[in-house]
Chain length 407, copies 2
């Protein structure tokens, strides 16, 4: 049923987010927003239809090649359905009233859908034609200040991925079609990853093999002891310099002079839908069902009530509703509890569904609820444990720190 | 400066939402989400790139004509950059595991950017090529149940517009390219509106002139006393029947039989960016600056501190920071206070900027703050009143109900 799925493929490389999938994405967006605030970044939204002439000016209409979707309007004017927005942002800065050094540093980000005409879309949301990305653009007065911004963003990206809880690798990366002076990528390590990552076992320096395909010793310490893994890129950072600001005249006026100077840019991406898909891929590899990182679970708790007409059903009456109200009255669970009231199905069938979907905590009102001291059967999906708890004990159990991080 | 504007035009009919504009949009989204929950609607996200062959099947590839943006991928496969998603939703329902009568009614909505190749884009976000829309799709077992859903959505739409507080007209409307049995539009009344609305002065029946361009008496009571106004359409409702479900085989299985039956659909839009722009247009018509409906104001309070080097600046020291902390410690103002600390500018200059941007409450720490009993100068933009309040009085003033509706 629609309301139980995560995603739905409408075409090769194109996916709808179904209710559970979108809930998870919206949680990730909240986490990203809060980390962007730590950077003092302001949120904006730029159109996906971007003026093709800007892409000509920076030379990317050619370098990006067939991966770009182009759109002609009724007047035959060409737009790029943007995969990234360096041109758009530089153009905004070039066309607003003059930027003063007092306005810097400026950090603007958005979380919107991006487009890429993938040759081989695959692995669902990991490599799709339309995907959600957080893209942050920084504008500084000097390359030194841009480098500080770069280091600060890298630090915040680390905190963000630590919060999600899946381990990751940070590797030196090629600048590719973005250009610029410095680039890193953050990868989740997984066999299905497209990128080959090399890590020096002596000094820990890591890089994407694309940086230097021929290298068979460590670039940092020359050690030949290299470990090779596969990674899925979930975030990247680019110190762009003045490539885009020069081409599109994005300048500021300094304190001591009237002559405008090119802004120094940085560009920082997080693949929202890709990160979610990659996190599920990594986290679920050894289980039959999905295993969500707790902060991204669509709901923390699922309640299952007895099958219609069963002995338990008659004896537990309003227990489902009462439990639902008790749990949602706990502040951090207010929007975190779902009640599977498909009571025409057996408890076993629904419990099986719940484990496949991967709700972290499944609370069953069943046989144990009928008796002197009503107890719930509490299934914790991450460690496969089952607990028999009275309602008060259940509330205490759900007060654990780990269950409040997702709200 | 970027961080002070509302929108930025990147091309004819294409706009970026700058930080203040996006904050307002995100408030509107929250309001819409809460009203959709009242309907029991579930939130999803469908790709903007939609398979052209679906549009062929329903016949809309021709009827929508030049207003549709078409995109070819590298394999020359054609996609429609969707202005609306009836085809996509019917296709999801047609391709998921069989829908049972138990799953109905089903109400799915999204809030995403839509695309229309406008012949004459104008009035900024009111008629643009890329715009944000909330689109809700309902699926019912019978036309009677679909009619009930229709009435319910109309009721909730009324509550939503009442909450925003700008008066509106609800008029009978043509089904146009959507098709179906019944349609209404909700309009903000404004001279720049593209639609002509007629209202009977005797029985109050209202309709869009497009429904029957020739009619010069009331359709309901035959009265010739008609009032004519101009409107900006901000929301619409369509009882679609089975037009899309039949063409795309979106069916369900009833209780008594195994034979699948066409789902009965409804489609319900709210133009998010258009509603915001139209609300500002209507609300600001008689003032020099912007006047936000309170629930959509980007921030409720702006604080202005003395100019650097002024007498007041030396005597008020940390007053700005203290006031900011005091106000943001009030729960409903936690994210609602902005501090204009461009202290190189005079208070007068910043107060003028603040009134143009339309912050509902502007709190000035100035001359009155220097003295035995420090007072703030409090400017209320909606009624042009000025109050002299001590901090405690200011907090009480901001506790009024009207200032908590926007958080």
């Amino acid at each position: 049923m629609v309301s139980q799925g995560i995603i739905h493929q409408s075409h090769n490389g194109l996916f709808s987010l179904l209710p559970l999938g979108l809930r998870s994405v919206e949680k990730l967006i909240k986490i990203v927003d809060s980390h962007m605030r730590k950077l003092g970044a302001q949120k904006i939204m730029v159109p996906s239809l971007t003026d093709g002439s800007l892409w000509k000016k920076t030379g990317r209409l050619d370098t990006a090649g067939q991966e770009i979707f182009k759109v002609l309007d009724r007047h035959k004017k060409m737009f790029v359905l943007a995969p990234t927005h360096e041109e758009s942002l530089a153009n905004i800065l070039a066309t607003v009233p003059v930027i003063s050094h007092r306005n810097l540093p400026l950090r603007l980000y958005q979380i919107t859908n991006k487009y890429r005409d993938e040759m081989r879309p695959r692995y669902g949301l990991i490599r799709s034609k339309e995907f959600m990305m957080k893209d942050l653009y920084s504008f500084d007065a000097t390359i030194e200040m841009a480098q500080k911004t770069y280091d600060h963003v890298c630090e915040i990206y680390g905190q963000l991925l630590d919060h999600i809880g899946i381990s990751y690798s940070r590797v030196a990366a090629p600048s590719g079609m973005m250009g610029g002076d410095q680039s890193h990528e953050l990868h989740y390590v997984a066999d299905i990853g497209d990128d080959t990552l090399l890590t020096c076992e002596d000094c820990d320096y890591s890089w994407n093999r694309e940086v230097d395909p021929q290298l068979d010793t460590c670039k940092a310490c020359s050690s030949p002891r290299l470990k090779q893994t596969k990674g899925i890129e979930v975030a990247n950072t680019f110190l762009l310099g003045t490539k885009y600001s020069k081409a599109l005249s994005a300048r500021y006026v300094g304190a001591g002079s009237q002559k405008p100077v090119d802004l120094v840019m940085g560009s920082y991406g997080i693949g929202i839908t890709r990160l979610l898909a990659a996190a599920l891929e990594v986290n679920s590899s050894s289980s039959a069902g999905l295993r969500w990182p707790l902060p991204l679970a669509p709901y923390t708790v699922l309640i299952i009530t007895p099958k219609d007409g069963s002995k338990e059903s008659l004896q537990t009456q309003d227990a489902g509703k009462e439990l639902y109200l008790r749990l949602t009255s706990m502040h951090h669970l207010e929007n975190e509890v779902l009640w599977d009231n498909r009571d025409h199905l057996s408890i076993g069938r629904r419990l099986n569904d719940a484990k496949l979907t991967g709700y972290p905590v499944v609370v069953v009102i069943g046989k144990l609820y009928v008796g002197q001291t009503p107890k719930c059967e509490v299934h914790c999906v991450d460690d496969n444990s089952v607990h028999e708890l009275e309602i008060g004990e259940l509330q205490q159990f759900l007060s654990q720190q780990k269950y409040s991080s997702s709200s």
